[in-house]
């Protein structure tokens, strides 16, 4: 998989959402491999190369993390904080994709360094549009360019 570059790590517990996101990313012909962690702890294991993810060759560090907030065991915001506390991981861009549109969640996510925040759309078309943005971002990162701001991101005025 390494020939396709560094993967995208999707941290998501809902199988339906995983299915739809995979579908949408496939629709926009994402070249990257998509790795999935089913909760925050699993994501930590992946990023630290522990347990079942000990093989760095098979499970390289991701170029981008797509993160749900409501997760079992360790929440998305906790994971975000943990990542930001790790200098070796802090540079990995994190895109939040969650069902919460709570203002405090949005604010916390940005304060913890998320590059963009998206509420999961109801329809597949909106998800495909978002997937295209994620694909472009990944491509930029692959070519050594900084990931440009993702379109359609929810922003807090002044925040």
């Amino acid at each position: 998989m390494s020939e396709r570059g560094r993967p995208i790590l999707l941290v998501e517990d809902n199988p339906d959402d995983i299915f739809l996101i995979e579908k949408a990313l496939a629709k926009v012909s994402l070249a990257a491999h998509l790795e999935v962690a089913r909760d925050g702890i699993e994501a930590v294991h992946y990023l630290e190369g522990k347990e079942e993810f000990a093989d760095r060759g098979r499970f390289p560090l991701p170029a981008l993390i797509v993160l749900d907030l409501k997760l079992p065991r360790m929440s998305g915001l906790e994971l975000l904080a943990w990542v930001r506390g790790r200098p070796d991981l802090a540079k990995i861009p994190v895109v939040v994709l969650t069902s919460s549109n709570d203002v405090s969640d949005i604010r916390s996510a940005y304060e913890l360094g998320a590059v963009s925040y998206h509420v999961k759309p109801a329809g597949i078309r909106e998800l495909i549009t978002l997937s295209a943005a994620i694909r472009d971002c990944w491509s930029d990162l692959q070519e050594g360019r900084p990931c440009q701001r993702l379109p359609g991101a929810l922003l807090i005025p002044g925040g």
Partner: protein, 632 residues
């Protein structure tokens, strides 16, 4: 002139006491008397000789002088008469020498004269005494407040004093000689029959009698006066009756006072409150019926006992304070305290103590009014207990409610995440089905069914999101900061950019816009809702024209979002701000029906108001009022 003449008559009057006459006149008469006696004797010298009857002519003069001039002028005239007789009529004539036989004559003359003068003087004195006692009597009768009528032994009126004249309206002179019942008409007040003539009664029984109660005197002019009286016989020193004296008085005032006293006594006796009076030593003087009921002591038992009998020992000090206030003339009002009943129970009473004063204003005691408030106190305590219980219950319920609220939050969070994820699966998969297997499912109604599944899932997702937002607004405290409307409007338009483009709408904003007190994200959401409504509710085929502008309103800012849409009928202007109120069919104007409810609640949470003006068919003008933040 008249007074001078009457003075002269008074001098001449023989009834006048000599002392009342001028001394010159009295001594003048003394000299004149001696002179007349001398001239009388001299006139007879030719017929009886020079020395016969030397004294006799002086007796009439000296009698007159004693009567008219009194004792001292009479003594003077005796001396002068003696000397005149000795000089002119006794041998040797023209000398004061007197021989032995004539000395006896002179002594006899002097003695006779002194006897005459003494008798007359005694008469004068007796008469003066009589006059004095008569004056005393008439002054007494005139000055006493009672009416006095005197009759003779036949019951005929002989005298009325001024008060009797006033009450009967008869003059003493006019009444004299009339039978008493004519002057003193009395009837029984109740039967209005003539009352028995008291004089007849006195004459019959020969002793003092009183009038029956309720006697009315009918005066000469018809006035009726309630009176009290008594009549007594008058006896002469020999014991035989020679008249009756009747003493009576106007009893109207007394009767009024009595009635007032009776009324007060009735009030005191019928009062629900115990009313007690005591003197300054604290001895109980009066005791009404309620006091008897309240304390169990009868009046006979308690009157004369110290008031501390009724007071628990530990409160005696308080009573002493009340007593000291009392001595300064101060009342103690509505003091709530304890009292002791005869059987040793303690009752809670409200006590008012007021000083009792004598006519000169000195405090002589106190009246004490006690009300048994045991029941009221019990009720108050029950109420206080009830309130504590109520507070406890409110606390418990508040705790419960907070618990429920926490559960609600958890529930809505679950709804937000878990309920919407199957919807995303339904919408996403149905759309994937159309996209990937459209060709296979292009027959019959299959595409329509798929579209309906997808649309339904999307609408439901929208609905859940709006409902969550609406309930979230009710729970959360919004932190208000100065927010520039410029930025909020720009952000809202950016959020609705897709819709605006799709509908080809013309949106204008009258800038600049002021700064308001608000919660930024919430204000943006409100504006986005209003702009989206303005663009959406326009007749098909018409270009939506939306104008956003602001106007100042006394410390507030009114932001208008005006459209050229279908408008709202007056009857629905308020209803559209309620949850799920829709005026239009879903197919024509899609939406959840919660948008304006969110607007209203959000603006209220930011301390503002919202509303709409509209002309159906021409457009609506929605407004929100928010506090303006003044610029430095």
């Amino acid at each position: 002139m008249g007074s001078k003449r009457s003075t002269i008559f008074a001098w001449l009057s023989l009834n006048t006491p000599p002392a009342a006459r001028p001394w010159r006149l009295r001594y003048g008469v003394a000299l004149a008397g001696v002179l007349i006696g001398f001239l009388g004797r001299t006139a007879l010298t030719s017929s009886i000789g020079p020395t016969a009857l030397p004294f006799i002519f002086f007796f009439p003069s000296i009698t007159v002088v004693a009567w008219y001039g009194g004792f001292k002028p009479a003594v003077l005239s005796i001396i002068l008469a003696g000397l005149t007789a000795v000089w002119f009529f006794i041998e040797p004539l023209q000398t004061f020498k007197v021989r032995i036989p004539e000395i006896w004559g002179l002594l006899a003359f002097s003695l006779s004269c002194f006897l005459i003068v003494g008798a007359i003087e005694m008469m004068h004195r007796a008469r003066a005494g009589l006059t004095r006692s008569r004056d005393l009597l008439s002054t007494t009768l005139a000055s006493i407040g009672d009416g006095v009528i005197v009759t003779d032994e036949q019951g005929r009126v002989t005298f009325l004093n001024p008060e009797a004249e006033h009450l009967t309206r008869w003059k003493s002179i006019e009444a004299r000689g009339h039978d008493l019942p004519k002057v003193f008409r009395i009837i029984n007040e109740e039967t209005r029959q003539p009352a028995e003539n008291p004089v007849e009664k006195v004459l019959r029984f020969g002793k003092v009698v009183g009038l029956a109660n309720h006697t009315l005197l009918i005066a000469n002019d018809g006035t009726e006066i309630p009176i009290d009286d008594c009549a007594a016989p008058i006896h002469d020193p020999g014991g035989s009756r020679f008249g009756v004296v009747l003493v009576f008085r106007d009893s109207s005032e007394q009767r009024k006072a009595q009635e007032a006293r009776n009324r007060l006594a009735t009030i005191v006796d019928s009062s629900e409150d115990a009313i007690i009076s005591k003197n300054l030593e604290g001895k109980i003087l009066t005791w009404n019926a309620s006091a008897e009921r309240m304390f169990g002591y009868s009046a006979d038992e308690i009157i004369g006992k110290p008031v501390t009998t009724l007071i628990p020992p530990e409160l005696h000090q308080q009573e002493e304070e009340i007593r000291q206030r009392l001595c300064r003339g101060q009342a103690s009002e509505c003091l709530e305290t304890m009292r002791l009943t005869k059987d040793g129970r303690r009752i809670t009473v409200s006590v008012s103590v007021s000083p009792l004063k004598d006519n000169e204003g000195h405090v002589i005691g106190a009246s004490t009014i006690l009300r048994d408030v045991s029941d009221a106190v019990a009720a108050r305590q029950a109420l206080a207990g009830g309130r504590e219980e109520l507070e406890r219950e409110v606390d418990e319920r508040t705790t419960k409610l907070k618990e429920i609220l926490r559960e609600m939050e958890a529930f809505t969070y679950t709804v937000a995440h878990d309920l919407r994820s199957p919807l995303r699966a339904i919408a996403g998969c149905s759309e994937l089905l159309i996209e990937e297997h459209g060709a296979e499912l292009s027959t019959g109604s299959a595409p329509e069914y798929l579209r309906k599944i997808s649309d339904g899932a999307r609408k439901m997702d929208e609905l859940i999101r709006d409902l969550l937002e609406y309930s979230h607004l009710a729970r959360t405290d919004l932190k208000l900061d100065p927010v520039p409307l410029e930025g909020a409007v720009t952000e809202a338009l950016a959020q609705q950019e897709r819709l605006i483009k799709d509908r080809n709408a013309q949106v204008t904003v009258d800038r600049p816009l002021p700064v308001v007190q608000a919660h930024g994200p919430t204000l943006t959401r409100v504006l986005a809702n209003l702009v989206s409504n303005a663009v959406k509710f326009v007749s098909p085929g018409k270009t939506p024209v939306v104008r956003v502008r602001s106007e100042p309103r006394k410390g507030r800012v009114r932001l208008w979002v005006e459209d050229n849409g279908i408008g709202i009928e007056a009857a629905y202007l308020e209803r559209i701000f309620r949850v799920f109120e829709r005026l239009n069919r879903q197919e024509e104007y899609p939406g959840t029906g919660i948008g304006l409810a969110i607007v209203r609640r959000a603006v209220e949470r930011m301390g503002g108001r919202s509303g709409v003006e509209s002309t159906p068919g021409q457009g609506s003008r929605f407004w929100i009022d928010l506090h303006e933040v003044s610029h430095p």
